[in-house]
Symmetry: C2
Subunit: 251 residues, 2 copies
């Protein structure tokens, strides 16, 4: 992307520490034949909206797997600890990169990300229309509030449903929830400790692309979903973006 304002710099950052919990070595564990992190890296690079693309890691193997697809920011083991928040890690990164005015945190755990998912949010933030733009999806779940009575019993009250008039799914537009795929935000928001602040907008993704890997049980499902909905820069869904292909196809 060529920016209208020359001094703006939009960076993408993927936080990929070596010591992941839940699923060991998650970030580079093969998902449908490719290291997890490569799925989003392909989408990020082929979106062509970023002035720089970074992987932040404390791990040699992750660095080696990514260095031909992104710049690598080496963070300290302390900065990759279990209790260091993503925002804190990005703050540390930005201290070393004063040229970056806006940043998108893209998460490995949303491997069905496509290049085009990133293009509209990049435009929204680089035009100055929004200070933060993040990925959402629409869910249709009926929520309930639990109230614990004095005698220890618990009762429920509906939060988003009229029990005498339950809507059918197709008659209800649902609710917007973060799907975790990405968070575009201004440098100043991060410095203030927020992924979302100022004028906040969203980019809606389909449920099929919103798969998230939170628990070990999610891995198999993610594998099935990326085969159908993941972005493969070398495959038929490449949309013409064939850079970084390593070898020609056999036919």
């Amino acid at each position: 992307m060529s920016h209208s304002e020359g001094s703006n710099h939009l960076a993408a950052i993927i936080l990929a520490r070596g010591g992941s919990k839940g699923i060991p070595r998650k970030n580079i564990k093969p998902l449908a034949g490719r290291p997890l992190i490569e799925w989003v890296l392909g989408a990020v690079n082929d979106s062509k909206v970023f002035d720089s693309v970074w992987v932040s890691t404390d791990d040699d193997e992750i660095e080696n797997k990514c260095h031909d697809k992104a710049k690598v920011f080496r963070r300290s083991a302390e900065d990759a600890g279990d209790n260091v928040s993503s925002i804190k890690s990005i703050q540390t990164f930005l201290e070393h990169h004063p040229e970056i005015t806006n940043i998108a945190m893209v998460q490995c755990t949303s491997p069905c990300l496509q290049p085009w998912h990133l293009q509209e949010p990049a435009r929204m933030i680089m035009n100055g229309d929004y200070d933060s733009v993040f990925a959402v999806t629409r869910q249709h779940t009926f929520r309930w509030k639990e109230i614990v009575l004095e005698n220890g019993e618990s009762i429920l009250e509906p939060l988003n449903i009229d029990c005498k008039n339950r809507p059918r799914r197709q008659d209800w537009k649902g609710e917007l929830v973060e799907n975790g795929a990405f968070y575009f935000t201004s440098r100043s928001n991060i410095l203030e400790g927020m992924l979302q602040g100022g004028k906040i907008g969203c980019y809606e993704m389909a449920a099929t692309h919103s798969i998230d890997i939170d628990y070990p049980e999610d891995w198999q499902i993610a594998e099935m979903r990326v085969r159908e909905f993941g972005y493969n820069p070398h495959g038929p869904v490449s949309n013409g973006c064939q850079k970084k292909r390593k070898k020609p196809e056999s036919t």
Copy 2:
């Protein structure tokens, strides 16, 4: 279950019309080798908490597949139309069955249901402690409200999150949502047009058992999940309930 009050009758009902939308013949489509409806029928029967177990259908093939595992209530084609609500169908059924005082609607689309999931809710409702008890699961999603401005732009406001202090999943107990597996309720609630009314309680199910089939894309995921988390009355998870086995195992 033998009830303490002789006049109470707890029925289970599974609504299984022939003309399902989205996935054709969904209710009897084989899921991991068994017709979808058999997964929940096994759990319902082996829970041993119901005085009667019913399948309500307008379809001969569904009747034939179920008649050895449940009583069949034949409803008219009109009563199985696209626009007839579940509550209306259960009302029609109850008109023919004055003996039923409490009813549990169990849904085929939650094939990871286990017998034990039904036992505690049955106790809660048959003891007279609650008028309705339904299945919930806990979700950890950040919800946002979309506000459309006068100029047509849309902005977001957080509904359940402090952006300066995003909780980590493990530090947040999440929110209760219906998972759709079952709804126990009193006859009078149904007659008033409600699945949930009066004193309302819930039974919490793990996310792994809360898989729901809403869209065609969910089928493959459900298939994977039932292999691991579904209830098989004939298999090693049978918990000693070997009734209705059709043939001996080959070894």
